[in-house]
Symmetry: C2
Subunit: 244 residues, 2 copies
Amino acid sequence: MTDSYELYYWPMLPGRGEFVRLVLEEAGVPYRDVARLPEAEGGGVQALMPFIRGERPGLPPYAPPILVHGDLVLAQTAAICAYLGERHGLTPDDPEKRMQVLQLQLTVADVTDEAHDTHHPVSVVLYYEDQKEAAREAARQFLDQRLPRFLPYFERVVERNGGPWLMGDALSYADLSLFQLLEGLAYAFPRGFAKVTESTPALVALRARVASLPRIAAYLASDRRLGFNEHGVFRRYPELDLDG
Amino acid sequence: MTDSYELYYWPMLPGRGEFVRLVLEEAGVPYRDVARLPEAEGGGVQALMPFIRGERPGLPPYAPPILVHGDLVLAQTAAICAYLGERHGLTPDDPEKRMQVLQLQLTVADVTDEAHDTHHPVSVVLYYEDQKEAAREAARQFLDQRLPRFLPYFERVVERNGGPWLMGDALSYADLSLFQLLEGLAYAFPRGFAKVTESTPALVALRARVASLPRIAAYLASDRRLGFNEHGVFRRYPELDLDG
């Protein structure tokens, strides 16, 4: 099968689609970011609707991001990253190490979910404004109790494997996702993130190292890269960060 | 490598460890459920502590469940299920279909997380009693808005693939996890679950079909099977279910 990929994701926010984009970019393969095309070329939110309404053939996705590759329709961020990782040398061939990369990816996803839930603790179907009080408490616990365990955990993994990457000397898709998580946390919680990362120098170095990978650096400087905003997973609501 | 597995999980609740147990049981392989052994034989919660404190060699797990297989230490429920599934014929060999099973497993995990978060919406580090008001609203939204989308989604997958299993005629680890999700929802929200499943006959049939698999039926009748309780993911708090 050729490496002709289509990505479908909400066009107005980086969200979970960005974890997939980083793998596609580092793999150096062409892809169409369909919903970000002009509507006249089949883009826009309506490009997602046939999947969500179950009208497309293939296994139905529950939600974006969705990767289309030939007849394959694949959803769930970690499954898409693992699929691309196997095809493009961004995960080890050895089955045990391949599963360990998936373990790390799923732990990145857990932190990402908890970061999201700081601004939507009660329900994703309610507005932030309708759960602000719970959100303040959720964010406080996240910054005080959760992030100071999650980030040192990843620091320990890098150290245990000898660095500079999570799995040692081999870059994997989990490193790219960890980079995006760190970028998102730095955006959403500048004070809280700065405090926790004082004690995680290997993560600070890993973040900079991903950003300077030639293909990633070119991508970050391009207009393909979407900035964070208050529609996505990582939102900068100053009232949810540590007090100054 | 021999099929000599050790599972490490909190001994007092089924939780996410139960998704792993179901795969081990259907695979028909022997395993030691270490933390459920008597303390004199190395069991109990303290069996988990060397992993959590990072004292064990191998890739550190962030949290249980943890599978040990030879030198491999593997965490994250979906990664463990995928690993066992590949070794014991509970996922397709074809890379595309194998990733689709992972997609479905991760969607089961998403619903499981949302079910958990109904009783802990604000933070896992606070008691239920300290977030009861938010929990009532979270549970209401989960039963009104989320479950009526998630369960028909899985129904559509079974129908699309021709049934009786998620992937058609081949049982996979995702079916076993979907069974556990349905069992948990039926326990936690008897009224809400009964209402939603009126329109998902294929899921009702799949749940019964898993329960009658010979190895699973023997397991469910054994004392290895832990019942649900109010320490786990799925908790029966009547105030969180639909009104009678």
